[in-house]
């Protein structure tokens, strides 16, 4: 898998800080699972977290260290060879099965989706989107941050061609007009940082197609 579109520095920073909305974190971790370049960058972002953590003024604790038994726990084992280079386990379990069993729902001609359940209080929106071969989506902008990770096939827009493993990390100031690959179509994982924004996107997708 050759990855040419990566995560923005500000996205990796929020990832290292653990301050991303859950939906965004899901896409970021799915991209990191397949992208050594972004994993290397993330390490440098983590250095900032480490420095800031070290420099916090400690707050005295009132309790003793937790009691541990000398032989408990996972002793000196390093799991090896588990680098799967595909979807992280957490996403697989969220999908509850294989990609060919996704319960797709059609939202517009040539466009299907499958929302993925987030934690109860989580902001944002996470869903799989499937676009039929050659389908053009109308030009649209984004109300906030939006992350799109290509899982199968590819799509092209003003920023280039996004293939399997590529991520489009778009801010609120970007408009684009994506077209799904003419042969394979495209399946992607899309996160927005606020729920209402995805609904807005769907509405805009529907507009020219249904004439609402």
């Amino acid at each position: 898998m050759k990855i040419t579109h990566h995560l923005d520095d500000s996205t990796l920073m929020a990832c290292a800080a653990g301050s991303q909305p859950e939906a965004m974190a899901a896409v970021v971790s799915s991209h990191l699972a397949v992208c050594p370049h972004c994993r290397e960058e993330l390490k440098k972002h983590s250095l900032i977290g480490e420095a800031l953590f070290e420099s916090l003024s400690p707050v005295p604790v009132t309790r003793e260290a937790p009691v541990v038994a000398a032989r408990s726990g996972e002793l000196g084992s390093h799991p090896q060879g588990d680098v799967t280079h595909e979807l992280p386990a957490s996403l697989k379990s969220a999908l509850a099965g294989a990609m060919d069993q996704v319960p797709w729902r059609r939202i517009a001609p040539g466009v299907w989706h499958c929302p993925i359940q987030l934690s109860e209080d989580a902001l944002g929106d996470l869903r799989l989107l499937k676009v039929a071969a050659g389908t053009k989506l109308p030009e649209h902008g984004h109300g906030g941050n939006e992350l799109t990770l290509v899982l199968e096939g590819s799509y092209s827009d003003e920023f280039g061609t996004f293939r399997r493993g590529d991520v489009a990390d778009l801010g609120d100031d970007v408009e684009h007009r994506p077209v799904a690959d003419p042969v394979e179509g495209c399946v992607c994982l899309v996160a927005t940082d606020q729920k209402v924004r995805f609904k807005g996107l769907v509405a805009r997708l529907m507009q020219p197609l249904t004439g609402i």
């Binding site: 953590f53 009132t62 260290a65 002793l75 992280p88 609120d172 940082d193 606020q194």
Partner: protein, 199 residues
């Protein structure tokens, strides 16, 4: 008011600002020989820091203390997965604290696994030269953070220390989202340049 990297600057507090290099050794002892005494030392050093971190992330003192206990218990349980080729003990423990905070304080799934089996190119044991580089790197990062313009260090602190998302920072500071992100990028570029300079 946001406290801007108050403690990233060198200070003369009663607390040690630097965590000694021996922390990785302590963690290795916990991992390899289940050394309870080493674990107690780790707790003494990291417990108060994790508590401070949790409080800055919005936890009250009691919850923060619970989470410090739980963080160090996780350190004990998972110590076998740590190796110092995979980053410093502090980074590893910070990652555990960070994931726990997402899980407990935000009640969300963290999605970020511990760095356990990601290093395809792990080396054979600690390299003394690499250790010097790592220390140099940490000093550089600290120095760069201390000299960031206030508008950049503010967004960095809000992200790492207070745990606010891009849009929460934008809201807090009444800034456009794009401005928050570009300040983060600028801050990171400086850190990255300094770190890559070392090689």
């Amino acid at each position: 008011m946001v406290q801007v990297l108050e403690s990233a600057r060198p200070s003369r507090r009663a607390y040690p600002v630097k965590i000694p290099r021996t922390m990785s050794d302590l963690l290795q002892k916990v991992a390899q020989t289940r050394d309870v005494e080493a674990f107690r030392k780790l707790f003494e050093l990291y417990g108060p820091r994790v508590k401070a971190y949790m409080m800055r992330q919005g936890a009250d003192a009691t919850t923060a203390e619970d989470l410090a206990q739980e963080t160090l218990l996780t350190v004990w349980r998972k110590a076998g997965l740590y190796s110092d080729e995979k980053g410093s003990a502090t980074t590893w423990i910070f990652t555990i604290a960070r994931n726990l905070r997402i899980d407990r304080l935000r009640r969300e799934v963290s999605w970020q696994p511990l760095p356990e089996n990601r290093d395809e190119e792990a080396s054979d044991g600690p390299d003394p030269e690499e250790e010097v580089t790592a220390r140099e790197r940490r000093d550089k990062v600290r120095a760069v953070l201390a000299t960031l313009p206030p508008d950049q260090s503010e967004v960095v602190t809000l992200s790492y220390v207070e745990g606010l998302s891009h849009s929460e920072i934008a809201e807090r500071l009444s800034l456009p989202l794009g401005t928050v992100k570009s300040r983060m990028r600028l801050a990171y570029q400086k850190v990255k340049e300094a770190v890559e300079d070392i090689r």
